[in-house]
């Protein structure tokens, strides 16, 4: 029921950690979801994908991994660094 609040907080953390790159350059937001975190995974995925599809993001992918435990954790981001390919 509170999946949207949690997804909003994930977006806040993602935006903060992407800096100085803008949120629209975030390509992937990877999140670990504890099996006992009290979170309905598919509902959470729906909320997070909806948020990541709109401003300030621009269609970042939500990568969700279910793990044992009670924590919900943003594990990593993939961010376009604006430089040409190596």
């Amino acid at each position: 029921m509170h999946e949207l609040s949690l997804a909003l907080e994930v977006c806040r953390i993602a935006e903060l950690n992407a800096a100085p790159r803008p949120a629209r350059d975030v390509r992937t937001v990877a999140v670990e979801v504890g099996e006992d975190a009290g979170i309905e995974l598919e509902n959470f995925r729906f909320c997070l994908e909806a948020l990541l599809s709109g401003a300030p993001f621009a269609g970042a992918r939500a990568e969700l991994v279910s793990l044992p435990g009670t924590d919900l954790r943003v594990s990593y981001l993939e961010v376009d660094d604006g430089r040409p390919d190596d």
Binding site: V74, L77, D80
Partner: protein, 223 residues
């Protein structure tokens, strides 16, 4: 374009937990124990608080932070029973209170003049269990018009709570509610749970509740 991976490893609840820790310290410094009152909608949290404020509001210097999804109705109801401050939080759709809202509400409360704080959460047995508000303990209210098996259906909330109030006991003669079974289910998920049996309507059982609150307001430092 080159894509770079940024390690984050940040708990999503970290910010709430940090804010809750600040609230807890602030209340401890002020010697004010706070109870987070949780239940499903309609179990009688507000009625219990109305009675409590009428009887003990002045004596114990009770302040209340009350959360609702919409309207300030509960805050208005409570404000009629006390001269003391009742701070309303309208969550605007959110299904729980969080520590940031309690932090903001505390700014409006004179903690020097307060000896006991109630936080009346949004009526919901699921989400409020996940948000620490800096309270000393959660008190879960269950009413006899609900199912005996609520503790089994919402085990996290009953596990997180230290006290349970079984309310509306004046209605027991009219219902099939099995009180012993409800207590047994609750103790199954949380053997430590301490029960109060009350009717906020008739006042039955409230003496023990008041004794408990008086003791809590007297000795907050001992926790």
């Amino acid at each position: 374009m080159a894509v770079r991976t940024i390690d984050v490893r940040e708990r999503v609840m970290a910010r709430n937990d940090e804010l809750a820790a600040v609230v807890r310290q602030r209340l401890r410094d002020a010697g004010v124990p706070a109870f987070n009152l949780v239940s499903s909608p309609g179990s009688g949290k507000t009625s219990l608080l109305e009675r409590t404020l009428e009887t003990l509001g002045e004596e114990l210097g009770i302040a209340v932070v009350t959360g609702d999804v919409q309207t300030q109705n509960d805050a208005d109801r409570l404000a009629r029973r006390t001269e003391r401050l009742v701070q309303a939080v309208v969550t605007g759709g959110a299904c729980h209170l969080d520590a940031a809202q309690v932090t903001a509400a505390l700014d409006a409360i004179d903690l020097e003049q307060t000896r006991l704080l109630f936080v009346e959460n949004v009526g919901n047995l699921v989400c409020p269990a996940s948000w620490d508000l800096g309270e000393v303990a959660k008190i879960v209210v269950l009413s006899v018009t609900e199912g005996e098996d609520k503790p089994l259906k919402y085990p996290k909330m009953f596990r997180m709570a230290r006290y349970a109030v079984l309310n509306k006991i004046d209605l027991l003669p009219h219902l099939d509610f099995d009180l012993d079974q409800a207590v047994a289910f609750a103790r199954q998920v949380n053997p430590e749970l301490r029960f109060f049996f009350t009717s906020a309507r008739t006042g039955e059982g409230l003496d023990e509740w008041y004794r408990f609150l008086r003791a809590e307001a007297r000795a907050p430092a001992l926790r």
